[in-house]
């Protein structure tokens, strides 16, 4: 019977597509002025697939289209062309919001509410019962560590505290997918470390995370994969280790070698026509990578990354 024949196909396809939480298909956003004339091409034909359980980083300098991408995925912006799919559904679908958490670039919260009122407000938007709300608010205040300021109006909060309450707000519904726009911006090194640890903890709970940053060090040790955007174009895409490793340079670093052994190695290198600098695979610094990309963009405009 045909239905029986088809069934295995569906079963095979389902886990594969179920694994993809976010998908963009040549997603493009052109901002227009009042008269409808194109002003900025903020994002150009972006193709991305983000899989369940990974931490995905959007990396790029200011104005490269990171926030635009996230807003398109949330339905805050409508694509000029292409598609943004979240959980396999159009990004403008309200129902997806049940399973999503979002921390905007700056924490856009009501300044006249205190931490508890803020979380209570957002919890109500998820239609949570009072008992659930109370428990959840307590948990999150502990998690982000703002117990001491729970009854203070947000207008009195420091930047770091604002980020924390913003994150708590994003986690109120225990979301499967968390979109964090520049989660570490404005945080001091300790705050940044804490934020990153929290992100790793969330990943360990099986959540999918999409985060953006213009600081490479902030993404490189948490993200499984990163995409590098520049002027709305996807320039690089892949695992952090792959992207930052300079493949044609090899560095060795050893301990406890005798001068004789060192000489021997030096001789081997010399025999192969090399010169020993330092023995390791170096990683690029933030500036180097960006500068390379910018140089590359100018040399070969329109070059695009291949999905790896």
């Amino acid at each position: 019977m045909p239905s029986q024949l088809e069934a295995p196909d569906v079963a095979k396809a389902a886990p594969a597509s179920g694994d993809v939480v976010i998908e963009t298909r040549s997603l493009t956003k052109v901002f227009r002025d009042f008269w409808g004339r194109p002003k900025v091409r903020a994002l150009n034909a972006l193709d991305l697939q983000i899989r369940r359980g990974e931490i995905f980083g959007l990396l790029g300098p200011n104005g490269s289209g990171k926030s635009t991408t996230i807003k398109l995925l949330l339905g805050l912006l409508f694509p000029s062309s292409g598609q943004a799919l979240v959980f396999g559904k159009d990004a403008t679908d309200v129902a997806k919001n049940e399973r999503i958490g979002y921390l905007p670039e700056e924490s856009y919260l009501y300044k006249f509410l205190n931490a508890e009122e803020t979380l209570d407000f957002y919890a109500r938007l998820f239609n949570m019962t009072p008992a659930v709300r109370k428990q959840r608010i307590e948990q999150l205040i502990q998690l982000v560590g703002i117990q001491h300021a729970r009854r203070r109006q947000l207008r009195e909060y420091s930047k770091g505290m604002t980020r924390r309450i913003g994150l708590a707000q994003a986690l109120i519904n225990d979301p499967e997918l968390i979109l964090l726009d520049e989660p570490t911006s404005g945080l001091d090194p300790i705050g940044t470390r804490e934020m990153k640890d929290l992100i790793l903890k969330l990943r360990d709970q099986g959540k999918t995370i999409l985060m953006s940053s213009h600081l490479l060090p902030d993404v490189q040790d948490v993200c499984d994969r990163i995409a590098i955007l520049h002027q709305g174009e996807l320039k690089e895409l892949g695992a952090v280790s792959e992207l930052l490793t300079v493949q044609d340079v090899t560095q060795f670093k050893a301990k406890g070698l005798s001068p004789a052994a060192e000489d021997e190695i030096r001789a081997v290198i010399a025999r192969h026509g090399g010169e020993l600098l330092k023995v390791e695979h170096p990683t690029l610094s933030l500036e180097e990578l960006f500068l390379n990309i910018v140089k590359d963009s100018e040399a070969r405009p329109g070059r695009r990354a291949q999905q790896k």
């Binding site: 339905g75 856009y108 919260l109 407000f121 109500r124 938007l125």
Partner: protein, 624 residues
């Protein structure tokens, strides 16, 4: 000028009376009724809007995708957003709206109100023949202005501010529906407005009652020393609150009526103690100024001097609301037909009250009113008793004039010398109906008459209830304005949304006015014809004097334009219908049918604006 208003029964207002509607006669269009007029136009918009939206979507996305987009939004609204509606989410939005309003210092508005009341006490306390009226008009006006101002500002800036501060990003990325955001805002701001209105209402009530409260001093030596031929003596009270009252004492020194004469729309009760020169009088509180007459109105028809049905004479300086009947020896009369006239409802007879205005073509006897006569008539042409004998009365101007008619009317003498009487209910009422015919009997004088001028006043309702009804009207306006403000704020920036809301209110007023002008069109023609007349400097009675087909074309395009304008006036609520301050101030009950009309209008327009707001918000690009 007595206070003017059209009495329209609820169903008469609501339902179309199509047999009365003629396409080419603008005056007949008011018969189209609210149901077909407003609901019809709104329904039309409900189809027109998606169509325009579709056209825009086609330009952007092409026909098939455009159709899909529009259809999905509407279908999704009905199948997902409506059943998914959550009161808890709506409440959360409403609560934040209230907190935001309080933070934005709405209480300043309240402080302004209190200050206004304090100053008002000073400048309202002047010589005025009807202080109650000016006090009540003032408080209602002040409340209305402040509450509307507050509603417009709160609602028009709310969503734009959220978009500007981007707080809306964290809200709309939650599973909240656009409808819940709109409704939450409307409920929140209305709640703030309601509390303000309640407080203002209480303060106003106390202000009016305290402001009008006064008494007078009456002493034994305030009376004239000489009695008039009937033995009565006249006295006056002390002058307080810019007036005195006359008091009449009978032969034995008692105050016959137990009351002062009426002055400035009120009177006082008087109690006396002691005898002769030691007699002291206690004058009570003012009465009769804070009232709410609940009149029973009749249907009016008019007879011209030849006794034929007519529209009455237009004396030129009057709005056609009021027409005039000529006095003297002719048959012109105004006839009111009252229904449900039963002895149970009117045990004492007919509690008639009149508010006629008088138009004198010569001075006549200026010291007294123009004389008129009332005849009660049987509606049944075959009845044994066709009418009562005429009862003459002296008209009074500018005041409601009570003229109760006893149940038993003396119509002559029996042979044995006893009075021959007729009973209104037995002899003149037919199937609960009776006609009251009023004529002016002085030659060349005229009575101005309108339907609400003559009515039965069996009992009054409570003033404070009527006062509350006045506030209910303001409340409904506030809710409506909030809905419109929120609607505009879903797609306009704050200041522009505020302007748009003011315009909507202004056009609402103007629309009602325009409709009245349209439906009362007498001569002059529509906009094109009027334009030509102005250019040619021709008055409305001369011919247009252009090529005939052209004239016809002008006339028909004028008509078409008027039909469109008439339709457009229904897009916005007729705010004129919400102005009940004159009822309250003039001491007339805001009649239940009017309350019903207001409620209906408020519900229909609030709902329409909210639904529109829902679609605007749902389909807009929040971060765009």
């Amino acid at each position: 000028m007595p206070f003017e208003h059209h009495i329209i029964e609820y169903w008469e207002w609501m339902l179309p009376n199509l047999s009365e509607v003629r396409l080419l006669d603008a005056r007949s269009w008011s018969n189209i009724g609210f149901l077909m007029g407003a609901s019809g136009v709104l329904l039309l918009l409900a189809f027109l809007f998606p169509f325009l939206w579709f056209l825009i979507a086609v330009i952007k996305h092409g026909p098939s995708e455009g159709f899909y987009l529009v259809a999905k939004s509407i279908y999704g609204g009905i199948t997902e957003d409506l059943p998914g509606f959550s009161f808890r989410r709506t409440y959360a939005i409403a609560k934040v709206a209230v907190q935001e309003a309080i933070r934005n210092r709405v209480l300043v508005g309240f402080a302004v109100f209190v200050l206004l009341m304090l100053f008002a006490g000073l400048f309202l306390d002047v010589e005025n023949s009807n202080r109650a009226k000016s006090y009540i008009s003032f408080v209602l006006w002040a409340t209305n202005c402040l509450v509307m101002l507050m509603a417009v500002i709160l609602s028009a800036f709310s969503i734009p501010n959220d978009i500007k501060s981007k707080t809306i990003y964290t809200v709309v990325t939650k599973p909240i529906r656009a409808g819940e955001i709109v409704l939450g805002r409307v409920i929140g701001f209305s709640a703030v407005g309601s509390v303000m209105l309640l407080m203002m209402g209480l303060i106003s009530y106390v202000f009016v009652v305290r402001g009008l409260s006064h008494t007078h001093v009456l002493k034994a030596d305030s009376f004239a020393t000489k009695a008039d031929p009937t033995g009565k003596r006249e006295g006056v009270t002390s002058r307080d609150a810019h007036h005195r009252h006359r008091v009449i004492m009978d032969k034995s020194g008692n105050i016959t009526t137990g009351e002062t004469e009426s002055e400035h729309g009120h009177f006082h009760r008087i109690e006396s103690e002691g005898e002769g020169a030691n007699r002291t009088y206690k004058v009570g509180a003012a009465r009769g100024d804070l009232i709410a007459r609940s009149p029973i109105f009749g249907k009016l028809r008019r007879l011209d001097p030849a006794g034929n049905p007519s529209e009455g004479i237009n004396v030129g300086d009057e709005w056609t609301y009021r027409t005039f009947i000529e006095g003297g020896n002719n048959r012109s009369a105004a006839i009111w037909t009252f229904s449900n006239v039963t002895p149970e409802r009117y045990p004492e007879g007919l509690p008639l009250e009149m508010n006629l205005s008088v138009f004198r073509t010569f001075k006549g006897v200026i010291a007294r009113g123009v004389m008129g006569e009332i005849t009660l008539r049987n509606v049944n042409p075959d009845a044994k008793v066709k009418s009562s004998p005429p009862i003459t009365f002296e008209s009074r101007e500018y005041v409601a004039h009570r003229f109760p008619i006893d149940r038993k009317l003396k119509i002559g003498k029996n042979p044995d010398g006893t009075d021959l009487t007729m009973d209104i209910f037995e002899d003149l009422v037919h199937e609960g109906k009776i006609e009251v015919s009023i004529r002016c009997i002085e030659h060349s004088q005229y009575f101005g008459i309108a339907q609400p001028d003559v009515y039965l006043r069996p009992s009054d309702s409570f003033f404070f209830v009527n006062f509350a009804k006045g506030y209910l009207s303001i409340w409904l306006q506030m809710v409506l304005v909030t809905c419109f403000g929120v609607m505009f704020s879903t797609f306009l920036s704050g200041p522009v949304a505020m302007m748009a809301t003011w315009c909507a209110i202004g056009l609402g007023f103007f629309g009602g006015l325009a409709r009245d002008v349209l439906t009362n069109l007498v001569t002059g023609g529509g906009p094109i014809e009027s334009g030509i007349r102005i250019l040619q400097q021709k008055n409305t009675s001369s011919d247009l004097d252009v090529y005939l087909p052209l004239e016809l074309a002008i006339k028909y395009s004028d008509k078409a334009m008027l039909v469109v304008v008439e339709g457009l006036t229904y897009i916005l609520p007729n705010y004129g219908n919400f102005d009940t301050s004159q009822f309250v101030a003039n001491g007339y009950d805001v009649y239940p049918d009017l309350v019903g009309q207001q409620l209906t209008m408020a519900v229909v327009y609030a709902l329409s604006a909210s639904i529109a707001a829902y679609f605007f918000l749902k389909t807009r690009e929040i971060a765009g």
